[in-house]
């Protein structure tokens, strides 16, 4: 039997997973995509259905495991109580099922779960419980910024090196300054968390741009598609209604619309650097992760804000940085090969995170 490992990035919008075997790390594919919508619904019989779009379809109640485990042990829906771990277990089980189509030798030898730096032992406990319900091994924990940093190769830095990570997810932002230690990474200051600043806000801004007062806004999916189109092209077409009529949106128009949000992003990063008691010039590298990293204005403005600091690093598919990096961080070559990289098991969070 060949040893294989599984990593999971349980996002609020999308769940991503990757496997590694014989040194080859690959994202897992769900129906041809490298992501699966994170939402879970409960059908009439009480069975949980995974892969549901959690957002953008008003009126049908979708549970989001990431938010549920962070908020508390249990959640209420339609007059029933559900265990938060049960929701996460449903998603993990689905991931494991898909992974088995690639690795038929049974369960993974190791499960690596990436989590926000602020999650404490209580929240991680719920996830560990979920892994066990999904018949998966006891998870190795890697915090999301550490995973992203390892994806970009920060493990090769000597102890004492500082790096910055900005993770722009769909709903939230997390800026983190990490210190390379002898056997892993530690936090150099409080994680800069903004629970109300995500790439999804760009879609809201795009919607405002093309919608007059009182008009029906375009479908969320269509907004996201156009945002991605605008991340690589100078103009995009946005289908605004069922009749298929389209509106042209240019890159400058879009950039104008999101300028204020991007300013908050650079503001959060710089504030996090200050709170860690360091300056950008002290950082050896700054990494951009998360789907929001695809938007050129984000990388551009961050790079400008950094000024005398190191040049910003962002690779193709930044949304995969965490899930791929989690395997690197926990793997034999990574800084956390023998034990969990995130040593801070008793970490606590005053702010819930998604």
């Amino acid at each position: 039997m060949t040893r294989w490992e599984l990593s999971v990035d349980l996002g609020a919008t999308f769940t991503r997973a990757a496997t590694s075997q014989d040194g080859s790390v690959r994202p897992l594919e769900f129906d041809g995509a490298t992501y699966m919508p994170s939402g879970v619904t409960r059908d009439a019989s009480g069975t949980l259905q995974t892969g549901q779009t959690a957002w953008g379809e008003p009126g049908h109640d979708v549970l989001v495991p990431r938010l549920a485990v962070a908020a508390g042990p249990r959640t209420r829906i339609g007059g029933a109580t559900l265990e938060a771990s049960e929701l996460a277990a449903a998603v993990l089980a689905r991931v494991a099922e898909v992974a088995r189509t690639r690795h038929r030798d049974g369960p993974p030898d190791r499960l690596v779960i990436a989590h926000p730096a602020r999650w404490d032992a209580e929240v991680l406990g719920r996830l560990a419980n979920a892994a066990s319900q999904a018949a998966l091994p006891d998870p190795v924990w890697v915090s999301e910024p550490v995973a992203a940093a390892c994806h970009y190769g920060a493990a090769s830095f000597p102890a004492g090196t500082l790096v910055g990570v900005y993770d722009l997810g769909g709903r939230t932002s997390a800026a983190t300054i990490l210190l390379r230690t002898v056997d892993g990474f530690s936090l150099a200051g409080p994680p800069g968390t903004d629970l109300a600043l995500g790439a999804g806000d760009f879609d809201d801004a795009l919607s405002d741009l093309v919608t007059a007062d009182g008009d029906k806004p375009p479908a969320p999916r269509e907004l996201t598609r156009t945002r991605h189109e605008l991340s690589r092209q100078s103009a995009g077409w946005l289908t605004v209604d069922a009749s298929g009529s389209r509106i042209r949106v240019t890159q400058p128009e879009f950039q104008d619309a999101i300028a204020g949000l991007v300013e908050q992003i650079t503001g959060l990063f710089m504030a996090t650097v200050r709170q860690a008691g360091v300056s950008v010039a002290d950082l050896a590298a700054i990494y951009l992760a998360g789907g929001g990293g695809r938007t050129p204005l984000v990388a551009g403005r961050l790079d400008q804000a950094i000024g005398e600091g190191p040049e910003l690093t962002v690779w193709e598919e930044p949304e995969l940085a965490v899930v791929l990096g989690a395997l690197a961080a926990a793997g034999p070559a990574g800084p956390g090969g023998r034990r969990p990289v995130n040593r801070e098991r008793e970490r606590s969070s005053p702010f819930e995170d998604d």
Binding site: P58, L67, R171, P217
Partner: protein, 489 residues
């Protein structure tokens, strides 16, 4: 008895956090030690820190002096009105100046025991001024921070904000709403969110209400109307809006109104009503009322104490039989609206000082609780985390989030949801958070919470994301109320 979250036999959230701070403090060093000891001092300090902010000439200093019951804050546009000034209790009048650069130094108070005109440094080199004074008003639960008014739209520049960062609550003085109102509110919401203020700890004070009616007639009906309309618009930004006849309030609570002034008012009242009432409707007529019973200096003195509208109220009171000074002052006090303001401050802020200060302390501690495996910090983080799951603290954060989403996108909620959100944010216990009466049982709470959970879940589907995200937070708080209720003995 004040309503609080405190359950019998359980320490308050503030006490709980103070105890943790005291336990971990000896094991800390450097910045963390300094911040923890600062927070500990603040949690132990029984006074609530009330900041007063607003645009230049909005009536801020008048309000500060009203709370001080003494004219300590300069009301004219001197250098001092550009400073952050703390007024707090001390055994003797003392002034201390904290420059941006260099150590704090003492300064003697001015001749009338108020702030001296010369502080030893230009205003732009002074971070803040502390005025200690043996004043019973400051002994009873609060200290006051006067922030500088600017003519920027909100009146809160970076410098004023640095004062607000130390405040537990803000009294935002707004004169009658003007044309730029919406823009100002937008800016104010963003600014407040930045320093951790939100609907939970901001009270609007509608000042200069006499100007609402152009200085003629009874300003109160119009003032009530304006306050009510604006509260509806601002319910996720301010806990309430209270109208105030500012100068009259300062005068009746302060030290300047004398028997002599009462006598002057009675002289005016004695004039033949037709002539008198005509003169009292026009500032220019009153100022130049050479044929009247008062000298020009006396007329100016009365205007400085009460404004024309206040003089009119006093004359009305004398007409109605307020013959002696106590009766006259009681009448003026009632007409000023100051008791309602004080009661609102007590109910909304002083009575729930614990919740507000604990939330502020949690945020301050979070900044130093990370980045180290020190067991004391690990312990501190665990406490912060546990406090963050308490409904009272969640409510403060929900308030901040609501203010910000409203600022960013103009949060659109139907009136029902808006009311439910406002109750969640401003309620003082689980029942109030769900809009339930004191008599509601645990079962009533669970039922009401469940209903609201359904409402928030529907909004969580979005779009827009800003509203969906806020609905998630509202739902999570509501769920904690539900689970508290069902696990109650």
């Amino acid at each position: 008895m004040a309503r609080t979250d405190q359950e019998p036999g359980r320490p308050s959230l503030r006490m709980r956090l103070a105890r943790t701070c005291a336990e971990v403090a000896p094991q800390l060093s450097g910045t963390a030690a300094a911040v923890v000891s600062d927070v500990l001092q603040r949690l132990d300090d029984p006074t609530l820190r009330i900041a007063v902010g607003g645009r230049l000439n909005a009536g801020k200093s008048t309000l500060v002096n009203t709370f001080l019951t003494q004219r300590l804050a300069p009301t004219d546009a001197t250098e001092c009105t550009r400073l952050v000034t703390w007024f707090r209790y001390g055994t003797a009048p003392k002034v201390r100046v904290r420059p941006f650069n260099g150590p704090e130094y003492p300064r003697r108070p001015g001749p009338d025991l108020s702030l001296p005109a010369d502080l030893g440094l230009p205003a732009d080199e002074i971070a803040e001024v502390i005025m200690e004074t043996p004043n019973d008003a400051l002994r009873n639960g609060f200290s006051i921070i006067d922030t500088p008014g600017t003519d920027s739209l909100t009146g809160l520049d970076d410098y004023a904000l640095s004062g607000l960062r130390h405040a537990d609550v803000l009294l935002y003085v707004m004169p009658h709403p003007g044309a730029n109102d919406d823009k100002i509110l937008g800016l104010l919401q963003g600014t407040m969110a930045e320093v951790g203020l939100s609907a939970v700890n901001v009270l609007g004070v509608l000042s200069q209400i006499d100007r609402l009616t152009g200085g003629v007639g009874d300003p109160w009906p119009k003032a009530e109307d304006v306050a009510k309309t604006n509260v509806r618009r601002l319910r996720t930004v301010v806990v309430d809006i209270v109208p105030l006849l500012g100068l009259v309030a300062e005068t009746v609570l302060g030290e300047r109104f004398t028997e002599e002034d009462a006598r002057l008012l009675r002289l005016v009242a004695a004039v033949e009503p037709d002539q008198r009432d005509f003169v009292l409707n026009w500032l220019e007529e009153f100022t130049n009322w050479g044929a009247g019973p008062l000298t020009q200096a006396e007329r100016e003195r009365l205007l400085g104490l009460l404004d024309l509208s206040g003089i009119r109220i006093a004359i009305g009171l004398i007409d109605a039989g307020a013959s002696d000074t106590p009766a006259l002052m009681a009448g003026l006090r009632e007409a000023s609206g100051v008791d309602r303001l004080l009661a609102t401050v007590r109910r909304e802020f002083v009575d729930r000082a614990d919740q507000l200060r604990t939330a502020a302390a949690v945020a301050a501690l979070d900044r130093v609780a990370w980045g180290d495996q020190n067991t004391a910090l690990v312990r501190l983080r665990a406490e912060l985390s546990a406090l963050g799951r308490e409904p009272a603290i969640r409510a403060v954060w929900l308030g901040a989030a609501a203010a910000r989403e409203r600022h960013a996108r103009g949060l659109a909620l139907d009136p029902d949801a808006d009311g439910a959100l406002s109750a969640l944010i401003t309620g003082r216990d689980d029942r109030e958070r769900l809009g339930l009466p004191d008599s509601a049982s645990a079962r009533d709470i669970a039922r009401a919470a469940d209903e609201q959970i359904g409402r928030w879940r529907e909004l969580e589907g979005g779009p827009p994301l800003s509203r969906a995200r806020l609905a998630t937070r509202a739902r999570e708080l509501t769920e904690s109320l539900y689970f508290n209720a069902v696990s109650a003995p």
